[in-house]
Amino acid sequence: MFEILEKERIGPGVNRAVIFAPEIARAHKPGQFIILRTHADGERIPLTIADKDADKGTITLVWQEVGVTTYYMGTMCVGDKLQDLCGPLGKPTHIEKFGTVVGIGGGIGVAPLFPITKGMHDAGNHVITIVGARTEGLLIMTEDMRKVSDELLIATDDGSFGIHGFVTQVLQSLIDKGTKIDLCVAIGPVPMMRAVVKVTKAANLPTVVSLNPIMVDGTGMCGACRVEVGGKTMFGCVDGPEFDGHEVDFELLMKRLAMYKGPELIALNKFRETDRGCQCTFPGGA
């Protein structure tokens, strides 16, 4: 059992929790994730390790409520325990001094981008971070990002904060200005990553993306996480989650992510009718 030490709501439907998991905190490297189960009949879901404190023995998770498990986690409180926490999983990010690294985070993707940005920054890279969201209220972790970036560019689709536009437009203008870029790392919703890759392909910039296929075990045993990269089938959990963005079949990933839309909706509706989890109040409400 893994105790929740801190929990807060950092945006509409977005939560951050600090969890006591000393062995995972010690072993974690940027780019890796965990798989958790909230309770005995719960499902296994992957979440990126958004931060860690090896001395305190804690890891930080940031999640967006989209379905049964993430909503249920939203109702959990400090002192509650997760049934299972398995990790760190996945290949760590390849970090070295590349020169200038541009990190592009969209929506909840800013959370998984954070430890990579930190790692790239610590390795002596000049880090330019572009974070984007639909609207101001949905921007997360901008202050955390500021601390580990040499330049931070913020964009909102509706112009309510920062640059008015998409992250791809911000990236394009960097390229147009002639900024020397050695590597791009893009994490966010699939359409965003696909759009970023379109821009970087044209500019011939190496681009790493972190994929989020549906997973079960996370150890290479089930193949649920199949993705196609460069025409070859790979297992997202053990061969990734990071891949060469120029080679990824995003259409396939989108289709596979929709595989359980029907049952997920049934489960969510049923979940909303029943009282599950501890019913404490928390900032932001249900």
Partner: protein
């Protein structure tokens, strides 16, 4: 019992094991075979001739003392019989249910020459269940701790057997398991209706009572490597029993369509994650209407029968050879046929057909004929130029499992063969790396529960020998 026993030609027929009727059981996950009662066990045991030269024993990979345990059953000493079995086989409730007896112990029984062999597996299951329900009679006395510590990677039958053998000799054991549940394939692969999870759990609890420490959610190679276990955690020895856990695909077009599963994924969702209770449990799975399964082994039978129980209307097994060559246990094939699973034999899938939203809607197949025997002795399937399609909404690829590279790739100086299996001495389990042993499917490739248990036992003996413990 009033029946006469003529020693040479037994009149008593091989006793059937009561089972749930096929129509009912096709819709539930309860155990299919219900087991002998005392009377049936006595009757079946009375058929055994207690041979001086027991061929049956030679057919058992761990050489269970079959004549003697069956003799004890005859005398009504069921608990004594269970102990006799346990001398060689530490998980008899499991082996009695899943061993391919017809190709092992029972294939060699002399009764089989003129009639039907003694039902050794059923008797083994009976005595072990009896002992579990009626108390074991005694708990083994543990020797003083030796101070030695062994780390075990993987909690499948190989790792569990090794843990049991070592703890009984005073060696402390810690088992590291990647999943949240202990038992390996016994819990994530083999379905509840064939091997109730409560049985695996009770065997694990038994080991825990003896002092074995278990760490779940612990992926060796990620959280700690085998080298860390030896050098940082200071284990005196490490046993690798990580199984053959990497699913193989056919590499035909359409295999990444929605609705296409590896058997591992399908069975893990159904068994380990209890998808059959969805939405009471949180893990969804395909509730296919028309399901096609590729393959002919135990894994294929389990996938097909699980799909049926999840509510499929039609389940078809597509296999390249004929009924005779099916590698699955005879009992499972028989049960599958009884439950209404269809067999599309002498057929190879060539493509999975998808619709515009990315879902599988059919399988393109090629008819085969049997040619000359290949080096496995089975006749090789040869393609013909006849093709046809099967309509479906779910496909389960069940053509076998390869070695998971995680542990070998993160361990220094650990030799593997060209399939990625760890190279280990089959008699001792010793690997190319000092103080590291390995056994079970990760060494042999996908095999059987009893062979994995045998490998665990042999490695334990070799470790004890290395440590100088008698």
């Amino acid at each position: 019992m009033s029946e006469q026993q003529k020693p040479k030609k037994p009149k008593i027929p091989r006793q059937k094991m009561p089972e749930q009727n096929p129509i009912e059981r096709a819709h539930n996950f309860y155990e299919v075979a219900l087991g002998y009662d005392n009377d049936l066990a006595l009757l079946e045991a009375s058929r055994c001739l207690h041979c001086k030269k027991p061929y049956c024993m030679a057919g058992c990979p761990v050489e269970v003392d079959i004549p003697d345990f069956v003799e004890m059953v005859k005398k009504g000493d069921f608990i004594g019989a269970a102990w006799k079995v346990k001398e060689k086989n530490s998980l008899p409730r499991i082996a009695g249910r899943v061993c391919p007896q017809e190709s092992q112990c029972e294939s060699k029984c002399v009764l089989g020459k003129k009639g039907e062999p003694c039902a050794i597996g059923r008797l083994e299951r009976f005595v072990a269940d009896y002992a579990a329900v009626h108390g074991e009679g005694k708990t083994p006395e543990l020797p003083k701790p030796t101070g030695l510590r062994v780390g075990v990677v993987g909690s499948g039958p190989a790792g569990l057997t090794l843990a049991g053998a070592l703890i009984k000799k005073g060696v402390a054991v810690t088992v590291f398991e990647a999943l949240h549940e202990l038992g390996g394939v016994l819990v994530y692969g083999i379905p509840e209706f064939r091997l109730p999870k409560a049985i695996v759990k009770s065997e694990v609890d038994e080991l825990r009572k003896l002092g074995v420490e278990f760490k779940t959610n612990w992926v060796v190679g990620r959280i700690e490597t085998v080298d860390d276990l030896l050098e940082k955690a200071k284990f005196d020895g490490v046993f690798i029993g990580t199984g053959a856990g990497a699913p193989l695909f056919l590499k035909i077009p359409g295999e990444n369509l929605n609705g296409v599963y590896s058997a591992n994924e399908f069975l893990t969702r159904a068994n380990l994650m209890k998808a059959y209770l969805f939405p009471q449990s949180d893990t969804p799975t395909a509730k296919g209407r028309r399901v096609v399964v590729f393959g002919g082994g135990n894994v294929a039978m389990d996938s097909a029968r699980s799909a049926l129980r999840l509510g499929a209307e039609e389940v078809t097994i597509v296999y390249r050879r004929t009924m005779e060559e099916l590698p699955a246990r005879a009992e499972e094939v028989h049960h599958a046929v009884e439950e209404g699973i269809k067999f599309q034999l002498l057929t190879a899938p060539t493509e999975i057909i998808g619709n515009e939203t990315g879902w599988a809607v059919g399988v393109h197949c090629q008819k085969m004929v049997l040619g000359e025997p290949d080096n496995s002795g089975r006749r090789r399937p040869m393609p013909t130029d006849e093709f046809f399609d099967i309509e479906c909404d779910t496909v389960i690829v069940s053509i076998g499992n390869g070695a998971n590279p995680l542990v070998p790739s993160t361990t220094k100086n650990l030799e593997t063969n060209k399939w990625g299996n760890i190279v280990a001495d089959l008699e001792t389990g010793k690997t190319s790396k000092d103080r590291v042993w390995a056994g079970g499917d990760i060494v042999t490739g996908a095999a059987t529960v009893i062979l994995a248990m045998g490998a665990g036992r042999k490695a334990a003996l070799s470790m004890l020998d290395t440590f100088g413990i008698k």
